[in-house]
């Protein structure tokens, strides 16, 4: 049995109908466990005080922000190469979810930055890179909504996703270069991994799993909606033809 069978819209609908409730429940379980554990049952950190606890939202959201774009890149390539509609529609479905995660990452970053850096916003390379990523998400979503014909829109957004990935990647490193240029090495960025001991790490892992499952749930839901909308449009077009 080939994995491409699931690219058939009907098969996809049947499969996700069964999987979706389980994934959703698991996502809620992981998120509740991870967040409660992280917020109430971990000690305050030496350097950060209780502000460190925002990592349980900040880190998973930021990880998913980039992962969602990576997923869109893969599904866009699958659409361009194999012309599976579900693939293109799942990329369309993932974009607003990815944008939300990016915004969550930015907002929690700003909230964390206030006590730590004394400012809501610093042009820290990492924050800036996420801001640029948010702009790419916006452009991608705008292009989807601007083109009427669904296959044309899928083609154009896929090309944009590929080219955009290259430029988002370039921007990431350009930004690093740019801020070093200003601050001469006095970087504001915090390297999380060095500071995180197991006490924080395990609930964080649970939270990350929760965010991944939440992402899958939302993308499945939205893809199902897109498939239904597409099907509806096809039926209406047929009605007009008949």
């Amino acid at each position: 049995m080939s994995i491409w069978e699931y690219a058939n819209p009907k098969k996809f609908m049947q499969t996700t109908e069964v999987i979706l409730p389980w994934v959703a429940v698991l996502a809620v379980l992981c998120l509740v466990t991870g967040l409660v554990w992280g917020f109430f049952f971990t000690p305050d950190a030496d350097r950060f005080g209780s502000t460190v606890k925002i990592i349980y939202l900040h880190v998973p959201a930021a990880m998913m922000a980039t992962s969602a774009w990576a997923m869109m890149l893969v599904t866009s390539l699958i659409w361009l190469i194999r012309r599976h509609h579900v693939s293109a529609l799942s990329a369309k479905a993932a974009a607003p979810v990815g944008l939300c995660f990016t915004v969550i990452g930015l907002v929690t970053g700003a909230i964390w930055g206030q006590p730590m850096w004394g400012t809501w916003w610093a042009w820290d390379p990492r924050l800036t890179a996420f801001l640029i990523l948010a702009l790419f998400y916006l452009g991608y979503i705008a292009l989807w909504s601007a083109v009427d014909d669904p296959d044309t829109a899928a083609d154009l957004t896929s090309v944009l996703c590929i080219v955009g990935s290259v430029f988002a990647f370039l921007s990431r490193y350009a930004v690093l270069f740019w801020n070093q240029g200003l601050h001469q090495g006095a970087s504001l960025s915090l390297d999380k991994k060095e500071n995180v001991s197991d006490v924080y790490w395990i609930p964080l892992l649970v939270c990350i799993a929760g965010f991944v499952l939440l992402f899958i749930t939302l993308v499945f839901l939205r893809t199902r909606t897109e498939i239904r909308a597409r099907r509806l449009a096809a039926l209406l077009a047929r009605e007009r033809l008949a």
Partner: protein, 209 residues
């Protein structure tokens, strides 16, 4: 010699299939007229044959760079003169000399007039003159006689005859009788069947059968 052969072609406008099972073949020196009611898919068929959009199914056989396509829009730049417009297309298609085309479409007197100052019929004549400088054997033309007066239609028919005499071929979607010895292809029987009558439904829709 067959210049253009189309086998069992199915095409869609947007996502809706419009024509299916179209086959035709066009030999050197022959013209074919496409007929059919509005919306049947004449323009879509011509764009498909010109290579501007993919077919759902079927094969189009033609030598590479054999087809010159004339659409509703003539691609005339308002700020360039008639001669400049034509010279540009001659250069793009790699042919020399525009005088024969100017003469054939009676544009010699308008040579230095700007595109902006041409009437609709004059623009159309310029658009058709472009076919003459394209130097390609197969003409695929979409309603070429729109906004032409009777004299200009006669000019156009003469130009097509001249093209055929030189071993070219023409595929023309039109409702006017051009006085050509042309084969007529009525597209009505090829209208795509509704899905409930066994017609194709588009790749996406087919998954739900």
């Amino acid at each position: 010699m067959t210049l253009l052969a189309v086998h069992n072609l199915s095409i869609a406008r947007g996502t809706v299939p419009v024509l299916e099972g179209v086959s035709l073949s066009l030999a050197a020196g022959r013209a074919m007229v496409l007929r059919g009611p509005n919306g049947i898919g004449k323009t879509t068929l011509l764009r498909c044959i010109a290579g501007l959009q993919p077919a759902l199914e079927g094969v189009i056989e033609a030598a590479p760079d054999a087809i010159a396509y004339a659409a509703h829009a003539d691609g005339i730049k308002a700020t360039l003169t008639v001669a400049e417009n034509l010279e540009f297309w001659a250069a793009i298609f790699g042919t020399k000399g525009i005088d024969h085309a100017l003469d054939a479409m009676n544009l010699r007197d308008l040579r230095d007039r700007r595109g902006a100052n041409l009437s609709a019929g004059q623009k159309r004549r310029l658009g058709l003159a472009r076919m003459l400088v394209a130097g390609r054997p197969v003409w695929a033309m979409d309603e070429p006689t729109v906004s032409l007066d009777a004299a200009s239609v006669a000019l156009f028919a003469a130009a097509v005859l001249g093209h055929l005499a030189q071993g070219g071929a023409a595929l023309i979607a039109t409702h006017i009788d051009l006085g050509l010895q042309a084969q007529v292809l009525d597209l009505t029987p090829y209208r795509a069947k509704a899905p409930q009558d066994g017609g194709r439904r588009g790749a996406f829709d087919e998954a739900f059968t």
